[in-house]
Symmetry: C2
Subunit: 411 residues, 2 copies
Amino acid sequence: MSIGSANTECLKRIQESTAVLTDIRIALDVIPGMTEKTVLHAGPPIQWDRMCGPMRGAISAACVFEGWAKTPDEGFELGASGDLTFDSCHNHGSVGPMSGIITPSMAVHVIRNDVHGIETYANLYEGIGKVLRHGANDAEVLARLRWMHEELAPVLTAAIRRAGGIDIKSLVAEAVQMGDEMHNRNRACNSRFVLALAPHMAAGGKGDLEKIISFLDNSGHFCLNSVMPACKAMLDAGHGIEDSTIVTAMARNGTEFGIRVSGLNDAWFTAPAPFVDGVFFPGYGPDDANPDLGDSAITETAGLGSLAMAGAPAVVQYVGGTAQFAVETTHKMYEITATEHETYRIPNLNFRGTPLGIDIRKVVETGITPVINTGIAHRKPGIGQIGAGLTAAPMECFVKALEAFAEKKGV
Amino acid sequence: MSIGSANTECLKRIQESTAVLTDIRIALDVIPGMTEKTVLHAGPPIQWDRMCGPMRGAISAACVFEGWAKTPDEGFELGASGDLTFDSCHNHGSVGPMSGIITPSMAVHVIRNDVHGIETYANLYEGIGKVLRHGANDAEVLARLRWMHEELAPVLTAAIRRAGGIDIKSLVAEAVQMGDEMHNRNRACNSRFVLALAPHMAAGGKGDLEKIISFLDNSGHFCLNSVMPACKAMLDAGHGIEDSTIVTAMARNGTEFGIRVSGLNDAWFTAPAPFVDGVFFPGYGPDDANPDLGDSAITETAGLGSLAMAGAPAVVQYVGGTAQFAVETTHKMYEITATEHETYRIPNLNFRGTPLGIDIRKVVETGITPVINTGIAHRKPGIGQIGAGLTAAPMECFVKALEAFAEKKGV
């Protein structure tokens, strides 16, 4: 097959995909390859000795949550001991924002792409600030996690099932008409997500719905942990097409930035994780920042995030830049993508589809790398989120991938 | 005072105003001048013999709702009998979308502008299609109205009070960042409105919340009946400034289009209501359409609706036109307005404030009249909404007002 035909097939499969939140389950029960001592993390695979601070901090808290350790300090010891099995979320059908830590007892969103028989998973969104995914690990973080698992998850699960699932792809399509880019601005999608569930939560009549609805609504990002696995469920349909040069995953573990390419199996092409040019919360600055972290760049890979930024000019108030910059960013991304999204359409570009299908050839030829809108974690464990901003995928990843592709083709 | 200083004062008062939904009450108990036989209607004052079909249809249904008539046919007879007192909503601190019928037993939103001690009112939003405000009057319409008064209003009222009021001005500011123009596109504002109330409804624990939340959310416009009186509460703060040429109300009764001007007391300057260039629901066309109707042009008067259309390109899918047309419309409206809104800012115009303060002098000088985004009612009573579209305020209103202003100034 020619590269062109392979890419067409890859993108056809992505475009025709669906993504429905069907359930919330316990990780050990549903994630393939999950064991009682597995710790999944964001980005390409990495072991403890090379992990960044916030990822270690998150693991220390997860160890307490699992009952493997009594304190975060014991959690750090366990992390370093070699007794845990670390692996990349992406190797297990999963994604996680920031440190992306998923351990066996955690509740996970279950997303189905029924067109291609794909199921994906992500943990629950904890809110903003001092949260496990950003490396915070104190009693407040753990108490919130426990509340989420004991009180929130059962109510959510019942509502999702009663609703017959929540069509995440449709919610995203509507939210792109309402100024969301679906990485750092999810206000519309989250509002519609909560309102899709609220009548079913009310009908269920269980739980402290005042607290639950407020929690789901307040941060404005709860839906992100459904949108990320939805992106993966659709992109994975286009993964593994021999001869395709389309990027099917971009992910960061806080040490390295890695990409996967449809025609290059499950190899990761990595480079050092870049720093983020950000807007910092009061009291923090660039010296406090960890390099780029998390699986959330799956949104950009799926034609959202910075690629959809022209339709979400208000996101610049959070990540920096001007409205004009937002439009220019999307226009630049059309230069490195193979097609336009048929479902996600940007009103102020007269309903043009978002750029979709990052082609490693175009990235290397143009010298333009994908822009990423992202949160910023403190580089030390135990602190949490300190800002948000913009970065770009390192060119080195795309050059390495293109070299591997050329080698495979015997060019 | 010079006209310039008067307009500055008028606009300062409008800009500094607040608008909070504080309560839902029965019209007879709160609307000034409301009597047991008063029927308030949209637009400038009009009597039965000159009323359009949908306004008569709405009154026929309201007569049944009030118990004044057993059937809509009896309602028509009563309307024609001279036994009812008809007056303009605007003459009683009120506004109503489309026919704008408010009768003594109807529940009304209470909006407070505490900066200027102003209170305004509007009836409850019934949903779309076959509804009283568009002139429908059958058993389904009346059953829905009764449900709204008996089951919805008590739950809403308790939630509004428990929330300590809902800040409508802030909700609108956020919604303008989310692609709403607040006349025909209210999806974001309505979502945020329902989510502001949902936790309090849940805490109240009363009513069929599954049905209530679904009803409030589904049409996407329930909040409009809070936004309209909020616009009036803020505009009225700028009304009555001697020597000001700023328009403080635009309203249509389906027969005439009328405007009020800050420095010209409560006089209405009218012209025949124009037809609407619209997108019709299946089965209907221009021949079925009533001329422009309703108090909802108060949104345009307050810097929203078509004036904010650049930030709401998705509204063209409902009212017609292109995204480019939406941007051009807002740019054209800057030519006839005195200032820019300090609170309502359009992201894709780099957060420029919406055009605010239609100046009758600029309208006459430029020949540009305010564009109106609006719904379309069937011209016959008993049918309801048949589409939505765009029209423009008639130049004659502005010419008459400017002549009256010149005469008053002795020019």
